[in-house]
Symmetry: C2
Subunit: 384 residues, 2 copies
């Protein structure tokens, strides 16, 4: 496959953007990324978004955004893959440019969640779960994750408080990220006293909603080599599915789609977990951070919280995660999250991550999860 | 770009499928296409659907379908592009296989519209229009097309009855298509007496909703050459956008995105309109059939109905359209339509189109329109 390089990034702050529409947010991130790439146009646009049909009463966002940023008539497509929409859009863009059909692409992830009442958003987020077999039981999306966490705690003998460091690390890192929704630290006490949402998931185990957009410009790497720039390339890209309903899985405590897509990406990049310098994982809930670390081979099954308790997930640790706040503290505008993760990986690889810069970051991984592990997209970026 | 071949097709009848869910319909078409291709699996699934988030309370359909047809863990993605979701999914699949990232792909278009009350579906279909500038005026999607048709009639001096042959031809062809929703002929009198929906669009100017699914299996063409089969290849694939709102266009009576994508596809295929043997166009409304024929160069601006009145769009005419019923009579399950069109092109190129077989069909074109011309995907298939 033709090697792909990332040459531009852009993002808005994740926030409650009452004064901006979905296309305004997407446009802001897109134009920032184009400016960063020193380009005025691209051949194709890949727009990741989950909820616009219901939350914003607007579909086929590709055309909408193309027109808004002055690229009317260009090729554009909307990709929906629940909370992995952003990562999936990036992967589709990578394949399109790699095919030779396009010489450049703009990947945008955007979500505007505050246009709808929270109760409606909760119902819409639940469309990431199995309508016939999970939602029919009255489960919300948080409740499904709570069942998984409950079982994990029972099966492996952890306490709820053993998960605190996932959230504390995310908040500590977000303090320095101007694009993060929450730039305040979280204490152990704050974690333990936070209100219960769906036992055992409390408010500080869960990532917050938000409005936001992130964007990336990609081109074939060979068009840049001559210029002698620092090249950031896509070393691995893979996606795998699992059953949508958790109860249909052989093992509800194992993210098979994370394992499969991560190992495909490792093979493509010619690396293993030991070579990954940092990992922007999908910490929608603390339990998902633990499961991702296990499935991707950073620690053995059932031991995820160990990495957090030992400080190995901090910027100075063995496998830093959520280095700019993660879903927990940067915020989780669902369809945008996968692109935020990739933007942050690029910031780290460029050495532009500020206070939480990972030393000598050369290989970074991002993993974007749709549903409770139903579609998982893994991407490895590399600084050459 | 690596040449892509179509090796399998499948479809369900378009109907009110009260006894089948969206995934059952999609699965039926997918398994039929896989059997036709003599394959049990593919590397990736590309699922085109517009309304499932709202109409079926289910998102990220890729994972859902993969699991249902026994391909759990495979790569899968959902593409939404309003009524062009099917064509856009095919194009994404073509680029993925052409990139070398996959050696096979299954493209599925499916829509289950009868799960929701009609009033809700009407509101959801309107998300294909501009929420801020068209829907805010109270326009439904039919009403937007009615304004275009009204203007066209005024501007070019046609009468409403001059459009009848578009619908009559579609119904005449659908009589022989067992997958078509309406297999009854339409008379001139039946057209003229049909109830007005949104002046000047009457019931027989408009395509019907429906539930249905269609599927296609693609592989790189070079993997087949050795077997000496009849090869059907993707000779051209292009997509272009326009403003979502009709009033924002320089000329509301010209489908710029159809012109652009068709001409890109012509260039790729090394042909012009004269070499196209038949054209599965997007006759969601009779006016759109006329505008498509003009934008793609089959007749000059403002003269579209002439081709219909002269019988040139019939199977024996110069540019046959809707050869198996088109959107008008086969039915328009929105996100599935683009894949139905391509399946029908393959049926014609294989000589399997029955009573409405186009003689010596060698090059067929399909054009799938999202919104009122906002995203248009053009595909040219060729029998080698």
């Amino acid at each position: 496959m033709r090697e792909i390089a990332v040459i531009g990034i852009g993002q808005t702050k994740v926030d409650e953007h009452w004064d901006k529409s979905l296309v305004e947010l997407a446009g802001e991130a897109a134009l920032t990324a184009l400016a960063d790439a020193r380009r005025e146009s691209v051949d194709g646009i890949f727009f990741g978004n989950m909820l616009s049909g219901s939350a914003n009463h607007q579909q086929h966002l590709g055309a909408w955004l193309a027109d808004w940023i002055g690229l009317r008539y260009s090729d554009a497509i909307h990709i929906e893959s629940a909370c992995s929409s952003g990562g999936a859009a990036f992967r589709a863009g990578v394949m399109a440019v790699a095919s030779g059909e396009m010489e450049s692409a703009l990947v945008v992830g955007a979500e505007k969640m505050t246009d709808s009442p929270n109760a409606e958003i909760t119902a819409n987020l639940a469309t990431a779960a199995d309508a016939d077999w999970e939602l029919e039981q009255g489960l919300s999306f948080v409740a499904i994750n709570a069942l998984v966490m409950q079982r994990y705690i029972y099966e492996y003998g952890w306490k709820h408080s053993d998960f605190s460091q996932f959230s504390i690390n995310a908040h500590a890192n977000a303090v320095h990220n101007p694009y993060a929704r929450f730039q305040e630290p979280l204490t152990e006490n704050g974690y333990q006293k936070s209100p219960m949402i769906s036992d055992p998931i409390n408010l500080m185990d869960a990532s917050p909603m938000g409005d936001g957009a992130a964007a990336i410009v990609i081109v074939p790497a060979d068009t840049l080599a001559a210029r002698g720039q620092v090249l950031i390339t896509v070393a691995g890209s893979a996606s795998a599915t699992d059953s949508i309903a958790v109860h249909s899985r052989r093992d509800p405590l194992w993210l098979s789609a994370a394992e499969k897509s991560a190992h495909q990406a490792y093979d493509q990049a010619g690396v293993g977990p030991n070579e990954i310098n940092f990992f922007e994982l999908h910490d929608a809930f603390t339990i998902m951070a633990a499961l991702s670390l296990e499935a991707c081979g950073f620690i053995e099954r059932g031991k995820g919280p160990r990495l957090a308790l030992d400080g190995e997930i901090r910027p100075s640790g063995r496998i830093p995660i959520a280095t700019l706040g993660g879903l927990k503290a940067r915020g989780h505008p669902v369809g945008a999250t996968g692109v935020y993760q990739l933007v942050e990986v690029v910031q780290q690889l460029r050495g532009q991550a500020g206070e939480t810069q990972i030393q000598d970051a050369r290989i970074g991984m991002a993993q974007n999860i749709g549903g409770s592990g139903s579609i998982i997209v893994t991407t490895i970026l590399k600084r050459k």
